[in-house]
Amino acid sequence: MMMEKHLRRAGILVSLGLFIQFLTLLPLHPLAFIGFTAFAIPVTAAGIIYFLLSLVRHEETVIGQPVPKERPD
């Protein structure tokens, strides 16, 4: 359930960053380049990093859980 939440947040960040990139590609203007480097790249990178960190944390949580005891036959 927690992983789903992280996935949703990362997805929204990535799609927002890429949407900004889409908008900056439409006009041919120096400010579009600034918008791309100042907003599109950081927001998308934040989404990617957030997703990767949530993967690592999820793995750590799974590894840290006690192993279920085997039932005697």
Binding site: L7, I12, G17, I48
Partner: protein, 209 residues
């Protein structure tokens, strides 16, 4: 990569990232996890790189350089109907690619020349929007125009190697090649943009169809 491809790739990446974000239970299956990794890491990374390439490439176009108001007169100076103006002669005879005219002559062909040009460009944007704009005629180069930029195309060309003006003294040609004699500021090819000459000058905008 063309703009339409980058735009399509970006649109696809946005759609896939949104689908991954809004689809419930996607992380429960193995296929869902692979899709999430592709949609939130691989495809965005490729898309951002393609976007960066596109932005850097379009920053070298003539229309990009002339999109700032202060450069308008420099753009007009490419259309002087007089071949003694060096940029006009190069632009009108396609001695430089017309779509990349500014960048061809105003970038350093040494290592990191493109990076240096981009950093200068960032400074120009700062001055354009937050600083005090100079008058077009007061705009100066950061450093004297280097011969290496001219030699990038002219070196080895018969016209350059054999023209009488380059052999007035025995070591004239070697002085030009080594940069001891400047192409632009030694009195030989010193008529460049001269935006102050614009009022009243005849301009040429291409052959009539």
């Amino acid at each position: 990569m063309s703009l339409s491809i980058v735009l399509t790739l970006t649109g696809l990446a946005v759609a896939l990232a949104l689908f991954t974000a809004l689809r419930r239970g996607i992380s429960r299956s193995r296929e869902g996890k692979i899709l999430a990794f592709a949609a939130l890491v691989m495809l965005p990374a490729v898309t951002i790189w393609a976007g960066f390439e596109e932005h850097v490439d379009r920053a070298t176009t003539t229309s990009f350089c002339l999109s700032c108001h202060v450069m308008e007169n420099y753009g007009k100076s490419l259309h002087y109907d007089d071949p003694s103006y060096l940029p006009a002669r190069h632009f009108q005879n396609h001695l430089v690619p017309p779509d990349h005219a500014c960048y061809t002559c105003h970038t350093d062909y040494a290592m990191f020349g493109g990076v240096k040009a981009k950093l200068h460009g960032l400074r120009h944007i700062y001055v354009q929007y937050l600083g005090t704009l100079p008058k077009p005629a007061d705009i100066k180069l950061y450093s004297p125009f280097p011969n290496t930029t001219c030699l990038h195309c002219h070196l080895g060309a018969r016209k350059f190697e054999e023209v009488r003006g380059h052999h007035r003294t025995p070591d004239e040609l070697s002085a030009i090649k080594s940069g001891r004699t400047s192409c632009l500021s030694s009195g030989c090819h010193d008529i460049v943009h001269e935006v102050g000459d614009l009022p009243g000058s005849k301009l040429w905008y291409g052959a009539k169809q």
